[in-house]
Point group: C2
Chain length 204, copies 2
């Protein structure tokens, strides 16, 4: 075999998700964080992203910062727009998982039906629902952006937990009681889950 | 330093695109193929994807197969819907490039303004417009799916090249005369460009 013959794979058509996973040495998945505003979803997901990168894992975080101003910049917060928001996020997360990445999403995603629809798009066993379980009163007492205060004052409509429902997961793969344990402990539990389930191996 | 101290990066906040690129050993970019139906965009992009994977590069192809049935399954082919189609694709491609991947897109994308809008979203120097330049009469003579025949018969409306315009790129980064050179040659030219521009190194 000549050097060039390694390129013979060209002619066999589409690269598969399995080819990409072999290359990256991990299995693509979607780690879907859900929880109230102020529960710590983004903080934990950001810390998990950093921990995975430190371990040499290909990972990417979809959150409000990179989705709400870009792909979903045309969407507001009505029930219909929230459905479309989560639908697009789940489609993009599915593409990232197909690319072989450990894909993290951090959105309130308050409705069970929307999260179930997201789960249904991802290949079976690759969707990891992580409930960041912090009581409303704790989230409200933190209120770093004064969102709860503004919602209570009627300045923000349809605010989850105040004037719109939050439906907790029924059977999440992981529950993180982030009011009781540290961000570091939350990250370690999530990493342990990914290792146990064979999505990646331990870091260097 | 203890083993655990490698995780100290947690506390420094968001992982950057640079961190991800260092990990993957390449620079994220968007290789945007454009050309008429039947020009060979998808065939070349698929072969390039396979060649990059064979070289150990993290890459992902966005094309009709994984976009039109998923994220953009709600869009038709009016001018407005075509704009939104390309807008969403460019947003997703930008996320993939931000994740550090060599991101390939293969869509007709007939309008200059839409491709320019896509280019404007991607960080400067990271958007590589590849014009698959094949004359209409060659594309029409191939017509594997009988789309041109149906468009000529009036059975498909707004068909690019027949009843809707195709605006060739003015200053594409790369032109592939795919009627005159082989798919393998097209792939080699694209790979050479990526190497020259420092998006990745040569394969094993």
């Amino acid at each position: 075999m000549t050097e060039a013959s390694t390129n013979v794979v060209w002619h066999t058509g589409h690269v598969t998700a399995g080819n990409r996973e072999t290359l990256l040495g991990q299995r693509g998945c979607v780690v879907w964080f859900t929880g109230l505003s102020g529960s710590g979803k983004s903080t934990i997901a950001t810390a998990l992203e950093a921990a995975l990168i430190a371990d040499g894992r290909a990972t990417y975080l979809l959150d409000g910062d990179n989705i709400r101003h870009g792909l979903n910049g045309d969407l507001g917060f009505t029930r219909e727009e929230r459905v479309e928001n989560i639908r697009r996020i789940s489609e993009v997360a599915t593409l990232f998982a197909d690319a072989g990445l450990i894909t993290l999403t951090a959105f309130i995603s308050p409705y069970r039906t929307d999260r179930q629809a997201a789960r249904n798009k991802v290949p079976k066993g690759r969707f990891i629902e992580v409930f960041v379980d912090v009581p409303l009163e704790v989230c409200e007492s933190r209120d770093p952006k004064q969102l709860y205060a503004r919602a209570r004052a009627g300045e923000i409509e349809n605010f989850t937990g105040i004037s719109a429902p939050y439906e907790p997961p029924v059977s999440p793969e992981l529950v993180l009681p982030a009011a009781e344990i540290s961000v570091e402990d939350c990250v370690n539990r999530a990493k342990a889950y990914l290792l146990e389930q064979g999505f990646c191996t331990a870091g260097p």
